[in-house]
Symmetry: C2
Subunit: 296 residues, 2 copies
């Protein structure tokens, strides 16, 4: 199903599909406009669309067609976007900029931003459950797994630990849980969802699960590194916010050099997980290699 073996081309193509679908799920004439405007503001604010792309790339890697699963893929992006809106609130990270734009609450106010996040989270589930041409029992399992990854034992739980840990000394074990839950869980759910929707074998699902674990780790370490060495211009938000918020990160725990080594190790492990896949997994290989060289 993969016709182009360039990561850039693959991603641009998929981003176009995702952006069109997202626009369709939150149409400009939806009522009441006051909430849809706030939801749309953050949903169309760009971003790498990494989670939906990973779902599609996983489906492609197991011989399916990722583009067939846009509703579930876009649901993941809605979940990601809602989490950013709530995370940026004054009661949480208190960030004024995101992806180079003013954050949702700076435009719409705190109350409407909370509701915009709630609306996107709810729309995510409605959209995912509208996925056609998939056996309903499989769809139920996939969406249930995404809910687990996004919820209190996953992403929301990771953010809760993060919030409660500000200004506290936490150990490496807690840091690892926090990041696995906060970022890794949804990556893993995205990859597994793609494989499950495309009816992959148990063996391939297991391999992709291992890949996901290493991918998530590499992603988080790189995020921590970028917060130190990135530029506001490129990452679209002020750098150094972790330090200002007295957050424990991979850089504060292992130094910049140590964090870079850990990231490379995670990338290597991710690639090993894919060793039984052929060229159909090239996007997944390129994605994780790109990860640690990215500048935003």
């Amino acid at each position: 199903m993969i016709e182009q073996y360039s990561l850039g081309h693959y991603c641009r193509h998929k981003v176009n599909l995702i952006d069109s679908a997202l626009a369709q799920y939150t149409p400009a004439d939806a009522y009441p406009p006051i909430i849809y405007d706030a939801m749309r503001y953050s949903l169309v604010a760009g971003g790498k669309r990494l989670r939906p792309i990973m779902l599609m790339a996983a489906a492609d890697a197991v011989g399916g067609c990722g583009a067939n699963y846009l509703p579930v893929a876009c649901g993941l992006e809605m979940i990601h976007t809602y989490s950013l809106i709530h995370d940026d609130l004054p009661a949480m990270d208190n960030d004024d900029y995101r992806r180079g734009k003013l954050t949702n609450h700076k435009i719409f106010g705190d109350g409407m931003a909370i509701l915009a996040g709630d609306g996107l989270l709810t729309a995510a589930f409605g959209t995912m459950l509208s996925q056609p041409n998939v056996d309903s029992a499989i769809l139920v399992n996939v969406v249930k797994e995404i809910a687990a990854a996004a919820g209190a034992s996953g992403m929301v739980g990771g953010q809760a630990v993060d919030l409660a840990s500000e200004g506290q000394i936490i150990d490496a074990k807690t840091l690892k849980f926090m990041h696995q839950a906060k970022t890794g869980a949804l990556f893993k759910a995205a990859l597994r969802a793609g494989a499950l929707l495309a009816n992959a074998s148990k063996h391939k699902i297991e391999a992709l699960t291992h890949y996901a674990d290493h991918f998530g780790l590499a992603f988080q370490i790189t995020d921590d590194i970028l917060d130190v060495i990135g530029t506001q211009d490129k990452i679209g938000k002020p750098v150094g916010s972790d330090m200002r918020n007295q957050k424990v990160t991979y850089v504060t725990l292992y130094s910049l050099e140590g964090a870079k080594q850990l990231a490379q190790q995670a990338v290597d492990n991710a690639l090993v997980s894919l060793s039984e896949f052929g060229s159909e997994a090239i996007i997944l290989r390129d994605l994780v290699e790109y990860l640690i060289t990215r500048e935003a």
Copy 2:
């Protein structure tokens, strides 16, 4: 399936089932405790459990067994509870008390309260999708309908209009939309879910849909009346908050007497909708009659 024809007995029995199930879905040893504690605080804070009871009563009314649908029923209660947590935040209604207890953010802080709401909303979908012994295609449709009712075109949209309307003059039409969306939509989804899960005929589903519309209206008008004539002791939160927040309500629009008449009319219409049901709908009849005599 209904063995007891007393509303009080029926509700107490169902509340016990619901409370046990809710405790099971958010177990005391769930990790990380920091978020589950906050979720549990509001989830076990009591409340009438009206939405899950309505789902079960609708299933009973069409000849099914409501108690078989606890996962979907409890998902509705989680959605309701999350909406209260977010609604009480300083950025929204800024209420310190709810159901006679300090509100979630007064105990856990604004950030954790936002996350507790997010966790409950996400858990609602995970829990609903774990519903056993229902055809997956039916379950997908039911949960999709609940998502629509809870989301930006439903409950969240109603709250957004409510938030944006504070201190503004809004007309009766906007008020009606706001309340239908804010409260009525989830009641309707609860009743329809019960009927759909129990494989009701189209005709019965339609009758219950009409009942739901009138029920929701009666409920909201009564809420507005209680905010004026209730006592903090009974409704568990300060009375008069609508007036303080300069909200347009049925009482401000139609006077107290006019609002009471509208409520009675809605109850009468709800009862007419059930005219083709026999004694199996007695709970639904008693529920709507109880509505306008309630003190909290």
